[in-house]
């Protein structure tokens, strides 16, 4: 690794990886560091909705405009990360008709196409919906895979010479004469520490941006805001479903692969690492959602999780739904006189490219690079294209993941977890939540990669444990049965709970 780059980017979510690609496309030498795997923060813990912008037009027209522009661009440049499902906004009988008028005006002003569909046609196309639909409109929403998007940004940047280090955290800044000179980083697995000299640091650590800024002696007023989401074992609707009312809890359904993501909530939390959902939060969500999908409570939940929005409050006032979803570029030089550091906070995944552009425009100017942003014109390359999945050698039936995909997912990795593989391939993300494919993947990697058997056992156990964590708040109905099947296999049949203990002999 080069110990000297022009720009260090901190954070491997959509924003950070977008910044890396933009820097690389302008020929700026750059390194990204991420404390975990790519997209393990908020970019991997959201509903996966590529907004049309219609959700924002009433309260924040500018956000709506930004969303629709970015929505069109991303569909062009990142088709392998997006499933263009289309979206719909549904007003139920209790929803305010006055809001519908304002919403239609807003969509028109933002340039978002809306097409009214009759409740009868809609029922025909989306049989799970309530029959009590007052008004329904189709909009250009889509489903976006945050994991693939982050990985694709990094791969595209790497092709241009950029570097990225995952499982590496920033432990400090070197500051001389009120100017950032470089960062100290530490690798998680090896414990190795290094110093990287740079001219500029872009802090894109999302909900962790405040913690990063603190290393440079800077204070950032980030209020972490928790959003709970649940996953159902099938596609409830074929399109993204939004409720046509002021944004609230439990009003977005997004079909992904073989499942549906439904959310969210908005509650202040103390920690960006507060990513566990509780049973009560799930039950509250279901209560809301069943107004649109009457049979929702009978449908099989496979897991629940939470993401933390990095809401930025310059004056520390508005919180929750009242806080802006817009992004802010903080130039620390203007705030405290510290040169060489900017923080990019707030925003949403749909507008990540625009956020990256704003940051890189600023830095390019400082570095005297006059190449303009071209991220809206260049294709993004996903490392694993799902359409390549063949019938043969499938190890994950639910998400059609093959041995070849598993090989690709770890080709450039010394050490990995099955969760890293899952984020790239969707292994174990489907209805069975890894019950069968975890055993298969561990056995396959043990042999194909020559992994020590104790390590392979750990690979397996960690993944089953990770899936377990998500299913704990939703252990009822079909998911309780699935949990029993998983226990029956991994404990009852395989006796893995006792493997690697030296007492298991007579």
């Amino acid at each position: 690794m080069n110990k000297k780059v022009q720009v260090v980017v901190i954070g491997g979510g959509a924003t950070g990886t977008g910044v890396l690609r933009d820097l690389a496309l302008r020929g700026i030498d750059c390194l990204l560091v991420e404390q975990n795997d790519l997209a393990t923060g908020t970019s991997g813990r959201f509903h996966g909705l590529l907004h049309s912008g219609a959700r924002y037009v009433v309260k924040d027209l500018n956000s709506g405009k930004e969303c629709i522009e970015e929505n069109k661009i991303l569909k062009e440049i990142a088709p392998s990360c997006i499933e263009d499902t289309g979206g719909m906004f549904i007003a139920a009988k209790e929803d305010d008709p006055g809001y519908i008028t304002k919403w239609l005006e807003g969509c028109k002003a933002a340039g978002i196409s809306t097409k009214e569909i009759s409740p009868a046609d809609l029922k025909d196309q989306e049989p799970a919906l309530t029959t009590e639909v007052k008004k329904a409109y189709l909009v250009p929403d889509a489903a976006v895979d945050g994991f693939t998007l982050a990985a694709a940004n990094v791969l595209s940047a790497k092709k241009l010479g950029a570097q990225a280090k995952t499982y590496t955290r920033v432990t400090g800044f070197k500051i001389e004469n009120n100017r950032v000179k470089g960062v100290f980083i530490k690798e998680k697995y090896t414990g190795q520490e290094e110093y990287v000299e740079c001219a500029y640091v872009i802090n894109a650590a999302g909900a962790w941006a405040g913690q990063v800024a603190e290393h440079a002696g800077q204070k950032l007023n980030i209020s972490p805001d928790k959003g709970v989401l649940v996953i159902f074992n099938h596609r409830i609707t074929s399109r993204v479903l939004n409720r046509l009312r002021p944004p609230g809890d439990g009003d977005i359904f997004v079909p992904h692969g073989s499942v549906t993501v439904f959310g969210t909530t908005s509650r202040s939390t103390n920690s960006p690492d507060d990513t566990e959902a509780t049973r009560q939060e799930v039950l509250d969500l279901l209560e809301q959602g069943s107004q649109l999908i009457p049979d929702l409570r009978e449908m099989r939940l496979i897991r629940a999780f939470a993401g933390v929005r990095p809401l930025y409050q310059p004056d520390g006032t508005a919180a929750g739904r009242g806080a802006t979803r817009d992004f802010t570029l903080i130039n620390h030089e203007e705030l405290t006189g510290l040169e060489g550091l900017i923080s990019l906070v707030g925003g949403k995944l749909t507008t990540y490219r625009l956020m990256a552009k704003a940051a890189v425009d600023h830095v390019a100017n400082k570095l005297d690079v006059d190449k303009p942003c071209i991220t809206h014109r260049e294709q993004i390359y996903a490392p694993i294209v799902r359409q390549e999945s063949s019938h043969e050698n499938r190890l994950c039936q639910c998400e059609m993941v093959t041995k070849e995909m598993l090989d690709k997912a770890v080709a450039d990795k010394e050490k990995f977890t099955l969760s890293d593989v899952r984020r790239l391939t969707r292994l174990g993300m489907g209805p069975c939540q890894g019950t069968f494919c975890t055993f298969r993947a561990a056995g396959y990697y043990h042999e194909s990669r020559g992994i020590d058997v104790t390590e392979a056992n750990k690979l397996l156990k960690d993944h089953i444990q990770e899936r377990w964590k998500g299913s704990r708040p939703v252990l009822w109905g079909g998911q309780a049965q699935e949990a029993e099947l998983t226990r029956g296999i991994y404990l009852g049949l395989l006796n893995l709970e006792r493997l690697d203990s030296d007492e298991n002999d007579l």
Binding site: R394, V453, R472, L475, A483, L496, E497, L506
Partner: protein, 424 residues
């Protein structure tokens, strides 16, 4: 259409079949009714009596029968304590006898746990097993682990390397390819079906000859034929001059399938009637006596069935004998109260605390009649509970699933025949 039986058994798993066996041996008119096939297909075909005691112990029991006394003394609510040592012994002995009569002979004893390899290569204790599996990996010097290329659920190197950590033997492993040309990965049942063909078996034998397995113990997933597994194993052993040990696979379990089919055929020959595929849709009581159940058949008609006694052997959460709702668990046929429900879900999947969803169930007295949790008040006098519907044990951790099913099924079947007579 009205049908009348002495004993009606609800559930077609090992507990239900064991109850049917006990009842038919007493010359009663017996019906087994179930909404689906039992749990044979996701459990191993071995009868694990008691692998570990206490349940979270790391060391397998050498002599489970000795520990049973301790368990009965310390855990009065465990199904084994309610069933009692005498009935457990009788159940095991009748099963061994029946297995010979039905043509799938089992062997083993309650005095000993044999350590068998699991598909991950962990050793796992069991008490009874088919005679074809009467081989000890713990006493073998040369072990050869075989995987089948087309089968997605077994990795011979992985199992062999884990076994290597626990055994002193020389352990080798290899893949064989059956060249089935099906173009998708296959499960154990698919492979077992293919193995019914002599030509496919020969491919296995030819490749293993090249791998030079002579004189060793060959450990192979349980896929050596669906039906004629005993002859298949014998032939392979003769041709290769080695011994063959089949071990249980991930579901579908071919060993479990063989046990289910043989038991069912045997029970049918003995005169047990079967109605499988329809759930119980209504129940009629007279005070604390269940008079009749109704089954809604495919045509929508309700079949009414009267009986003197009923055995409830519908299984636990996995088989929908119990159903979990947020914050509560319900018994699905009679709506019996479910006891031993804990709120907490363990944080760690692999920790060995007994898990509430497995542990919860219907509480009974020593006759296996359902009682109100926390009391000895019998709820229904002629309903007897067997198998995973019972509360008070975690079969996956203590390795007792098929043992409890067999013993409680036998006792419930016996009580269904004699229980009320002794009362009156």
């Amino acid at each position: 259409m009205k049908m009348t039986y002495d004993v009606v058994i609800i559930g077609a798993g090992l507990a239900g079949y064991s109850a049917a066996l006990a009842a038919i041996k007493n010359n009663k008119k017996v019906l087994v009714t179930a909404k689906g096939l039992g749990n044979f297909y996701s459990a191993s075909g071995y009868i694990d009596f008691l692998g570990y005691y206490p349940a979270n112990s790391r060391k397998p029991l050498q002599n489970p029968k000795n520990s049973l006394k301790e368990l009965i003394g310390n855990n009065p609510k465990h199904p084994y304590s309610l069933i009692g040592e005498k009935a457990i012994e009788a159940a095991f002995s009748i099963f061994l006898q029946t297995s010979k009569e039905m043509g799938l002979p089992y062997t083993g004893t309650m005095d000993e746990n044999v350590l068998m390899p699991s598909a991950a290569g962990a050793l796992i204790p069991t008490s009874l097993y088919p005679v074809t599996a009467d081989k000890r990996v713990t006493e073998t010097h040369e072990l050869f682990v075989v995987g089948i290329k087309e089968m997605a659920d077994f990795y011979p190197a992985y199992a062999a390397h884990n076994l290597k950590k626990q055994l002193k033997a020389s352990i080798k492993h290899t893949w064989v390819a059956l060249e089935l040309g099906i173009g998708r990965e296959l499960n154990s049942y698919d492979i077992a079906l293919a193995m019914e063909k002599a030509e496919i078996r020969q491919r296995l034998v030819d490749q293993l000859k090249k791998a030079a397995v002579k004189g060793s113990l060959l450990a192979i997933p349980a896929v050596l034929g669906v039906k004629a597994s005993q002859e298949t194993i014998k032939n392979i052993e003769e041709e290769l001059e080695c011994r063959v040990l089949e071990f249980p696979t991930l579901p579908p379990s071919v060993m479990g399938y063989r046990l289910a089919e043989n038991l069912k055929n045997y029970l049918e020959l003995q005169g047990v009637d079967f109605i499988v595929g329809h759930p119980v849709s209504h129940v009629q009581y007279d005070g604390r006596i269940c008079k009749e159940i109704g089954i809604t058949t495919g045509s929508g008609r309700i079949k009414k069935i009267k009986a003197n006694s009923f055995v409830l052997a519908t299984g636990g959460v996995l088989s929908e004998g119990l159903f979990v709702y947020p914050g509560k668990i319900k018994e699905t046929v009679f709506g019996l109260p479910v006891g031993m429900v804990q709120e907490a879900v363990p944080e760690n999947f692999f920790n060995m605390d007994e898990f509430s969803i497995s542990y919860a169930g219907v509480m009974t007295n020593e006759k296996l009649q359902p009682v109100k949790p926390g009391t000895q008040e019998v709820l229904y006098e002629n309903i007897y509970i067997a198998g995973a519907t019972l509360a008070g044990y975690d079969p996956f951790i203590e390795k007792s699933g098929n043992g409890v099913a067999l013993a409680s099924g036998y006792k419930a079947g016996l009580m269904a025949v004699t229980g009320r007579d002794t009362d009156e």
